[in-house]
């Protein structure tokens, strides 16, 4: 810091004088895109349009209607906003702003209407939901004039569950196998099948119902049943299942498959053990989306299964009603209680679809990468815990050793105490438990070495002379030790290899 300040004082350029006005103008630059004038333009346009529309609708003209009010308000708002913006900006900016407002308003209209459609069914259906008999009885004993405390939709709920289970049992293997076919065996045939599947996605549901009616009920002679309805639903669900599974299987990295094949696995083994587990969450999402679509199908069930008011859990004999068909039947009646039941059924159906969707999002959001990261975090945590545990054990062992050795160390210190206090001027020979006769010898040898060794190393060196060391460690006989006397650089004894030998 000091050197920098001195450098600044020494620079050839005169120091800049900072006065107060320049510092006051030096505000941080705003980088946001929204200015106060933009917000005020919109607010002003809304206020102006609102007041003009109120004047038109309340005082000037006899025009009425909710929708007309909003349409006039919107048109006047756009015009006013365009004028306001054109006062400040150029024409391209005015066009850009008008398009911005237009796109936002279109999106708001779409989302508001769709949310309103869902909420409308819920609000009108709340009337019938609090009754417990709504979920536990069927309509066999309840007529159109009976109040909401009699009758329920148990037969419709069971019918939907049975039909969708059979449809899933057919669709999942067939759809998965076809998606596997599209991925594993590319070629003109699979391209053709893919085009056909795309065309099948938009098959009208009534045509699927007619098809099953023509084949199973007329040709094979079976009556209307839940099984026929399940077949019709599976015809509707199959293309969605195939397309969604196809997309998910294509997202599996090719390197995984190639690694498995390179290690010698067969195609089947690779598919079953590598590709399908990797794509598992996406496949579950595909299944749930197809289920959500299949639950809401009305017209195939209308043609193939028919209406019934009684509980029927047998898919092979007798008509079996499902939730959408029950809604259809209930609201056709002019009785308000039946209409209320219809809306209650619609609320149950919407709840089921929303629940399936939320489950699909949660499961589908678990990608392989996320699961792998979670697994690595768990492993890292476990390794940290283990290391901590090992560290604790090591420290405990050391402390225990020190504790065990404590009495011995105390003894040694006590024994050295007289020798320590006796030699205060000379070097302290600290060979505590060494023999007495050695002491005289060591004193002599240490004296001879005293003059040549450095003062720092003297104390340590004279604890044990080499002869004493050799007596204590007989195995060390034959080793070469260097003392400070050897000032020559250490030669490489035995390590130098003569040239020419390999």
């Amino acid at each position: 810091m000091k050197s920098m300040q001195t450098k600044r004082a020494e620079s050839p350029v005169a120091p800049v004088r900072v006065d107060n006005e320049a510092a006051a103008n030096d505000v941080p630059r705003r980088v946001g895109a929204l200015r106060i004038s933009d917000v005020l333009a919109i607010v002003g346009a809304v206020a102006a349009a609102l007041s003009m529309t109120v004047i038109i609708y309340a005082f000037l003209t006899p025009a009425g209607g909710f929708v007309g009010f909003f349409v006039t308000l919107y048109v006047l708002f756009m015009v006013t906003y365009g004028i306001l913006v054109s006062l400040d900006e150029s024409m391209p900016t005015v066009r850009d702003r008008l398009v911005l407002v237009g796109v936002h308003s279109l999106a708001i209209v779409v989302f508001t209407t769709l949310v309103f459609v869902v909420l409308f069914a819920f609000f009108r259906g709340v009337e019938a939901l609090p009754y417990l008999n709504f979920f536990t009885q069927d309509m066999a004993l309840a007529g159109p004039l009976d109040p909401l405390s009699v009758g329920g939709i148990l037969h419709a709920i069971t019918g939907t569950l049975i039909q969708i289970s059979i449809a899933l049992a057919i669709t999942i293997p067939l759809g998965l196998m076809t998606a596997v076919f599209l991925n594993e065996i590319p070629g003109p045939f699979s391209r053709f099948v893919r085009t056909i599947v795309e065309a099948m996605t938009a098959l009208p549901s009534i045509v699927a119902g007619l098809f099953i009616y023509a084949t199973f009920i007329l040709i094979l002679g079976l009556g209307k049943s839940g099984l026929a309805a399940s077949l019709a639903i599976s015809v509707m669900m199959l293309p969605i299942m195939i397309r969604a599974s196809d997309v998910v299987l294509r997202l599996v990295p090719a390197t995984l498959k190639e690694a498995s094949l390179g290690l010698g696995a067969s195609n089947w083994h690779t598919m079953w053990n590598v590709t399908l587990p990797t794509a598992r969450s996406g496949l579950v999402t595909a299944i749930i989306l197809a289920t959500a679509r299949g639950i809401g199908e009305t017209s195939p069930v209308l043609l193939t299964s028919g209406f019934t008011a009684a509980f029927n859990a047998d898919p092979v004999h007798g008509p079996m009603i499902s939730l959408p068909l029950a809604i259809f039947q209930f609201v056709k009646s002019p009785e308000p209680t039946m209409i209320a039941r219809g809306f209650g059924t619609a609320a149950v159906l919407m709840l089921l679809v929303v629940l399936l969707f939320v489950i699909a999002r949660i499961i589908g959001g678990q990608t392989v990468a996320k699961k792998e990261r979670a697994r690595q975090r768990r492993e890292a945590l476990w390794l940290d815990l283990k290391a901590f545990g090992t560290g604790c054990v090591t420290v405990a062992r050391r402390v225990w050793k020190k504790i065990i050795e404590l009495p011995g160390a105390v003894q040694r210190t006590i024994r050295r105490l007289p020798a320590l206090s006796a030699s205060s001027t000379a070097a302290k020979p600290m060979s505590g438990s060494a023999d007495e006769p050695q002491t005289a010898k060591s004193k002599k040898s240490s004296k001879s070495k005293k003059s040549k060794s450095s003062p720092k190393s003297r104390d340590r060196r004279e604890q044990l002379s080499f002869e004493e060391f050799l007596e204590l460690n007989p195995r060390a006989r034959g080793t070469q030790i260097t003392t400070a006397d050897d000032t020559a650089p250490p030669t490489r004894r035995g390590k130098k290899k003569p040239k020419g030998t390999s």
Binding site: V109, L114, I196, G342, V353
Partner: protein, 324 residues
């Protein structure tokens, strides 16, 4: 050095692989078979009625199979009218929503909105029918009256029984193609929105940044880069929506009151659609009547197939050719 011929590559499959590939091929063929079976069986059952009606099937408007006077002229044109009204309303709505989600929405909101659009695509059609019949129909009468009053000089907006009669009731505006078209539009919008949004989000970012760097406003960038790139997706999405709108049954059935003549006044009560015809006449038909309904279903099947093949061909050929 001699040039050697390239080594022939032979696939050696063991038995497990052969079974596996055979199964995969079999399920692909089964899907193909189902689709072909739909056409074949429908044609088989419809042959009886078609044989008796002959080519007059194409231009007869009435539907009385037991009197041997039936044809799909009225119902097919009615289906097309409802689908066209739906598309005219749905295309601007879905275009605006797709542009909003891909260009204007904040990042954090995008995923939520995409999920919301997918959820809306899964709403059952009965729920839309409920909304259309109980909520929309009452509120839209004023709009229909206003359009008929000020634009009644355009032939399709004329309403018999309203323009000249000051004491007419509102019932002449209920159960019209207009209301059914609005409901079908709301059903078709989520599907079109998701296709268009996917296509818009694939517009190359280099071209986008180039437009912005040359001084274009956001709308200028969208108009010059995103929309031309996404033309294939827009058209493909529209045609897919058209295919869905043509086949919509229950919502249309719950709203319209069927009429068996070509009724071009969309604001007026009375409309028809092939699928609602089948749903309506299905319970009370004799065997011959059933055969006539099968013939109508076969026509709908062919029309939807043609529209969808066209849609996938256009989407596949466009620059934003869908990779899915």
């Amino acid at each position: 050095m001699t040039l050697e011929a390239p080594r022939k590559l032979v696939r050696v499959s063991d038995r497990g692989d052969l079974i596996y590939r055979g199964l995969a091929r079999a399920s692909g063929s089964l899907v193909l078979l189902i689709m072909a079976a739909i056409g074949i069986f429908l044609a088989f059952r419809a042959a009886q009625a078609l044989g008796k009606a002959g080519p007059a099937f194409l231009w007869t408007q009435a539907w009385e199979p037991d009197a041997n006077n039936f044809g799909i002229a009225a119902v097919l044109i009615g289906t097309l009218i409802i689908a066209l009204v739906a598309i005219c309303i749905a295309v601007p709505l879905s275009l605006g929503t797709a542009l909003y989600i891909s260009e204007y929405a904040p990042r954090g909101l995008q995923r939520t909105l995409i999920g919301l659009v997918d959820l809306m695509a899964a709403i059952p059609s009965v729920v839309f029918g409920l909304w259309g019949f109980f909520s929309l129909q009452g509120n839209i009468i004023d709009v229909a009256k206003w359009i008929s009053r000020y634009f009644g000089w355009i032939p399709i907006f004329q309403v018999d029984g309203f323009s000249n009669d000051p004491l007419s009731s509102d019932t002449v505006f209920t159960a019209s193609s207009f209301v059914a078209g609005i409901v079908v539009a709301m059903m078709v919008t989520p599907i079109m929105t998701s296709i268009m949004r996917e296509v818009f989000s694939q517009a190359p970012i280099g071209e986008r940044e180039g437009a912005l760097g040359l001084g274009a406003t956001k709308w200028g960038m969208i108009r010059s880069v995103v929309l031309p790139f996404g033309v294939g997706g827009i058209i493909g999405g529209t045609m897919l929506g058209l295919g869905r709108a043509l086949g919509e049954t229950i919502a249309v059935y719950m709203i319209i009151s069927p009429i068996f003549s070509i009724q071009p006044h969309i604001l007026q009560s009375g409309a028809s659609s092939i699928s609602s015809l089948i749903a309506l006449k299905y319970g009370e038909s004799t065997t011959f009547g059933m055969s006539a309904l099968m013939a109508a279903g076969l026509t709908l099947f062919f029309v939807t197939l043609v529209v969808n093949f066209g849609a996938s061909a256009i989407v596949a050929r466009s620059r934003s050719g869908a990779s899915s």
